[in-house]
Amino acid sequence: MRKIEAERIKKKVKKLFLRANYHIGEDVLTALKEAREGEVSEIGCSVLDMLIENYKIASGEEIAICQDTGLAVLYVELGQEVYIIGGNFREAVNEGVKEAYMEGYLRKSMVDDPVFARKNTGTNTPAIIYTDIVPGDRIKFMVTPKGFGSENMSALAMMKPADGPEGIKNFVVDTIRKAGPNPCPPTIVGVGIGGTADKALVIAKKALFRKIGEHHQDERYAQMEKEILEQINNLGIGPAGLGGRTTALAVNIEYTPTHIAGMPVAVNVCCHAARHAEGIL
């Protein structure tokens, strides 16, 4: 067994959320610059210039990239040989989130009761935590502040196996068409296929962590990613939805085994501000 202090978990989570909210990934920046080179719409080009400038300002001054600093979502791989001491895991994670949002000038966007009171919890907690128990004695954190402009454009279809790859492609492209300018294009599109309804959504969001430019290892899925991306960019929605050739920067598919009777397909959209950070204890 390896002992890990709860305090270290808190500090790590705090650091990761601060980093994710201030500093955009190099892959996003590179993809936006490449898109700028290929963009033919004049307004599209000026939008992309603004975004690139925005990332420079946020990173340089350590201020939030976007005012919607999101709900705090974490995918955690917890080694089964880890023994947490001096506190409990969930509280340590929530304390880390709270400190990042309270001390880092990040907006608190979590309301307690979603229907009636809708009172802000004031700390951006509770965090949304997905935990996998894995072999080993380490804890891996993958964190993302998830904004709701894009989250609200999520979709789920419980498709028939007979719908096949064509059905999946049409559903994903149609979801992005309907979303139009709302999710802050150019977006990154996460697609989760298989499992149950809920599992498909969880892996769709996890797919958003993949670096732009990397494709699925299975050539058939990689091909589907490329075809969907091309069809999405052919919609002409463009940067900020004001017209152009850059509507999405990437389509990332993940799949998982499913039932003989079904083919769940989930789409989770991320705005261009694809804020992620990863760290290991």
């Binding site: 033919v40 719409s41 004049e42 307004i43 599209g44 000026s46 939008v47 603004m50 975004l51 400038e53 925005n54 300002i57 946020a58 001054e61 201020i63 939030a64 990239i65 976007c66 005012q67 919607d68 600093t69 000038y105 990040l106 907006r107 608190k108 966007s109 809708r118 802000n120 004031g122 402009g149 609200n152 139009g180 300018p181 709302n182 802050c184 052919n234 919609l235 002409g236 929605i237 463009g238 900020a240 939805g241 004001l242 017209g243 152009g244 050739r245 705005c271 261009h272 501000a273």
Partner: protein
């Protein structure tokens, strides 16, 4: 590069009528903020026939819930939120003389019809350019609903605040017309 139209607030009907979908605009003057929770409260006052806590005639409302300001900053990052959530409330405010809305994303038919009827304009601010946009916000004060925190109604003094006319007072909608030019 397209010419940038400079306007000041409060707006006049004359200025609103000259703004066309696709115009790049820079705004100087006072604007008000409001998003989901504040709109719900304003709408409920109007339904009861009560007075609003601010005069909205000829004003612009910016759909935003800013990040907290770091010391030394007038305002934290402050990009637009998605506008359609304010659609159920917007026509009532337009009927009261609101002339401009700043946000991002699609609007309902009812909002666009109300904009045509009331001669109002919908501006697009670039979503996710929040740190950059905040540079044009020089002063910020809460004018109503302080208990709502980031969702409170603020009054901003802005200089050269960058927006694009996306739906003009004649109902021309850049979100509909532009993508068609680039679709394949």
């Amino acid at each position: 590069m397209a010419k940038i139209v400079k306007i000041v607030t409060p707006l006049t009907d004359e200025v609103v009528s000259t703004l066309k979908a696709g115009d790049m605009v820079s705004i100087t003057g006072y604007i008000y903020t409001g998003r989901d929770a504040a709109h719900k409260r304003l709408f409920s006052l109007l339904q009861k026939g009560e007075k609003l806590p601010l005069e909205i005639r000829n004003q612009i409302i910016y759909y935003v819930g800013p990040a907290p300001a770091k010391p030394g900053y007038a305002c934290g990052s402050a990009g637009p939120t998605t506008s359609y959530r304010m659609d159920p409330y917007a026509p009532a405010l337009l009927d009261k003389g609101l002339k401009g809305m700043i946000g991002k994303g699609l609007r309902s038919k009812e909002v666009i019809e109300s904009m045509k009827k009331n001669n109002a304009v919908y501006f697009h601010a670039v979503g996710g350019a929040a740190a950059l946009i905040a540079k044009s916000i020089k002063k910020s004060e809460v004018v109503a609903y302080e208990d709502l925190g980031a969702e409170a109604i603020h009054r901003y003094y802005v200089e050269d605040f960058p927006v694009i006319v996306v739906i003009d007072s004649a109902g021309n909608n850049f979100y509909e017309t532009e993508p068609l030019k680039y679709a394949k």
